[in-house]
């Protein structure tokens, strides 16, 4: 006869059943033995401190034996002993878990792992910070806003750049860090010196979404004192401080009508415009804005001059090689198409700018 094949699972199941049966047999045997005798409690019930010492294992053998002998015959002391032991065991279990955590943290290997993880996290944070900073700088230099978007937000430009394009109040003022503002100041001062020698200055167009620093705002930013804090106390104070710092770093663009109404700040702003504060992005924006209207040959001549100043002046020591190449390309195009009609020149320029932006 063939032996029937039994899979391994059946073996374990059979073993488990055997084990269960054995345990049940042992339980019955034990209960029969327990029901065989009825011991009477020996001595008096345990005092609370004796019970506590027994549970903590602080009694010597004789004392311990005496206590257990009594407990074996006294249901009340037995119940207290069991409950106290359980309570203490659970307490020590919690403490043990805490101890395990502390032990884990104290292990050198755990510390090394934790250190490695922290280092990795710091590296990622640094990388992200640098990447975002670079992106932000690139955004400041090359406005990515499409042309039709700018047309929507800008009022119709005047025929030339000599007339300042009024700035449309941006729905969301562009946020620039303090560093950028400082750089702009340095650039404008360098440009101011070179422009005074070269030609009558051009009024800068106010660009949409770009921060314009009116004199009043500037002065308030420079000499601004924190407003007196209310009695709200400790929570309000740090918030007010934070707001004041933010305001100082990022002066808000004043509303257009307010700017027009403020006659005291107007000459200063114009003076600043006349010094020819131009950044590369502003130059590009000026090209776009000028080409929206009907530019004349003077417009293109001024563009060429500004472009040359961007390349040769000291105002832009931070101009990257790529930006230089782009600027040179635009200047070459301007030089090559001097005899072309204005609309064709503008078309070619805008096409080149858009290509560069992409």
């Amino acid at each position: 006869m063939h032996e029937r094949y039994q899979p391994e699972g059946n073996h374990t199941m059979a073993e488990k059943n055997d084990l269960d049966r054995k345990r049940e047999t042992q339980r019955r045997l034990a209960l029969l033995a327990l029901n065989n005798e009825h011991p009477q409690p020996v001595g008096t019930c345990l005092k609370a401190e004796e019970l506590a010492c027994l549970v903590e294992g602080r009694l010597d053998d004789d004392q311990s034996e005496a206590c257990l002998t009594h407990i074996a015959g006294c249901e009340r002391c037995y119940s207290l002993w069991r409950q106290l032991h359980r309570d203490r065991h659970q307490q020590s279990g919690h403490a043990e878990n805490r101890g395990r955590l502390v032990q884990l943290l104290r292990r050198p290997r755990s510390l090394a792992t934790a250190g490695s993880l922290l280092a990795a996290a710091a590296s990622i944070a640094l990388f992200l910070s640098l990447t975002m900073r670079t992106d932000r700088q690139a955004l400041m230099q090359w406005p990515s806003e499409p042309l039709h978007e700018q047309q929507r937000t800008l009022p119709a430009p005047e025929s030339s750049l000599n007339q300042a394009v009024p700035a449309a109040p941006s729905p969301v003022p562009a946020i620039q860090p303090m560093e950028e503002g400082t750089k702009e100041k340095a650039r404008s001062e360098n440009l101011r010196a070179s422009e005074q020698e070269a030609q009558p200055p051009l009024p800068p167009p106010s660009l949409p979404g770009q921060r314009t620093v009116p004199a009043a705002a500037d002065s308030s930013a420079a000499g601004q004192t924190s407003p007196p804090l209310g009695d709200e106390g400790s929570i309000a104070a740090p918030m007010a401080k934070k707001q004041a710092l933010a305001d100082r770093a990022i002066p808000a663009v004043p509303p257009q009508n307010a700017r027009h109404a403020d006659t005291t700040t107007q000459p200063r702003a114009e003076q600043r415009s006349e010094t020819g504060q131009r950044s590369l992005s502003e130059w590009h924006q000026a090209i776009r804005t000028g080409c929206q209207g009907q530019p004349d040959s003077d417009f293109f001549a001024r563009l060429e001059q500004q472009g040359h100043r961007l390349l040769t002046g000291n105002a832009f020591p931070l101009l990257s090689a790529e930006d230089r190449i782009r600027t040179e390309t635009i200047l070459t195009l301007l030089a090559e198409q001097r005899r072309q009609p204005a609309d064709l020149r503008c078309q070619a320029l805008l096409q080149l700018l858009n290509t560069n932006n992409r």
């Binding site: 034990a30 327990l34 019970l51 407990i71 002993w81």
Partner: protein, 268 residues
């Protein structure tokens, strides 16, 4: 502030936790915890002042608290004498009887109070609870009316101790007792167990040392893990398993020596 009062208040969280575990319901537990504090404060913190420092104060306060919580339960719910078969079984059976029939906890609550989140013990306690409810259909019906003793009654230290008259009366119920014991000890198979056979086996005169008895009670009656029972008795894991194995072998030999080998084989 009294230094003992300070110490008691420092253990307030422990007292509160023990009261919650004992009574489950929040309001009752709070009342019980306040009862414990009153008990500690009585006679100028007498219960704490007798502390000699042999154990840790936390464990000592734990022991006192357990006693006071049982006092509170008796004050609140009265006393009731369990049936003889429950007294005979003892241990968790008596506790379960009080919780279910006197304090009227639900079976789940009673199991939680006794087993204290120990799954291996939970199953045993749960089975015992349903046995009690099955054998005592009137369990918990007459709360406060069937109190056998009032709080002022002096009760003998051993509750299982019966007067001779009671013992005589109980003699007539012995057959019924072993029938119930048969059902409890052997489950469904207990229905087929002859009560006389069981009575003969339980009268074999097997004697146990206190530790041996406690070991069997903890492991097989109250459903505690063997290692845990060993820890309570001062033995390590290997010692307790070895002792238990030898004890069970010896018990079989003792039954055989008493001429009950065949009866034992039938019962097991």
């Amino acid at each position: 502030m009294n230094p003992w009062q300070k110490k008691a208040l420092a253990h307030w969280e422990q007292i509160n936790r023990m009261a919650r575990r004992r009574f489950q319901h929040t309001e009752l537990a709070e009342e019980a915890a306040l009862f414990v504090m009153d008990g500690l404060a009585r006679n100028d913190w007498q219960r704490l002042r007798v502390f000699a420092g042999k154990s840790s104060l936390a464990t000592y306060i734990g022991a006192v608290t357990l006693r006071l919580l049982e006092d509170f339960a008796r004050t609140r719910f009265g006393r009731a004498k369990p049936p003889q078969w429950i007294r005979r079984l003892g241990g968790i059976w008596i506790t379960l009887f009080r919780l279910l029939c006197l304090e009227r906890f639900s079976p789940a609550e009673a199991v939680a109070i006794i087993s204290g989140q120990q799954p291996e013990q939970e199953r045993t306690v749960e089975q015992a609870a349903y046995h009690i409810l099955g054998e005592l259909p009137s369990c918990g019906e007459h709360q406060g009316e069937t109190t056998a003793f009032c709080e002022q009654t002096t009760v003998p230290a051993d509750e299982s101790e019966c007067s001779p008259q009671e013992q005589h009366l109980e003699g007539g119920q012995r057959r019924q007792l072993f029938t119930i014991l048969g059902r409890v000890l052997f489950g469904d198979a207990g229905k087929a167990v002859d009560a006389r056979l069981l009575e003969r086996v339980t009268a074999a005169g097997i004697s146990l040392e206190p530790r041996e008895r406690l070991l069997l009670q903890l492991c097989y009656r109250d459903g505690m893990a063997v290692a845990e029972a060993g820890r309570m008795l001062g033995w390590n894991r290997h010692q307790v398993h070895g002792r238990l194995r030898r004890l069970l072998a010896r018990l079989q030999q003792d039954f055989a020596a008493a001429g009950l080998e065949e009866e034992l084989r039938q019962l097991l």
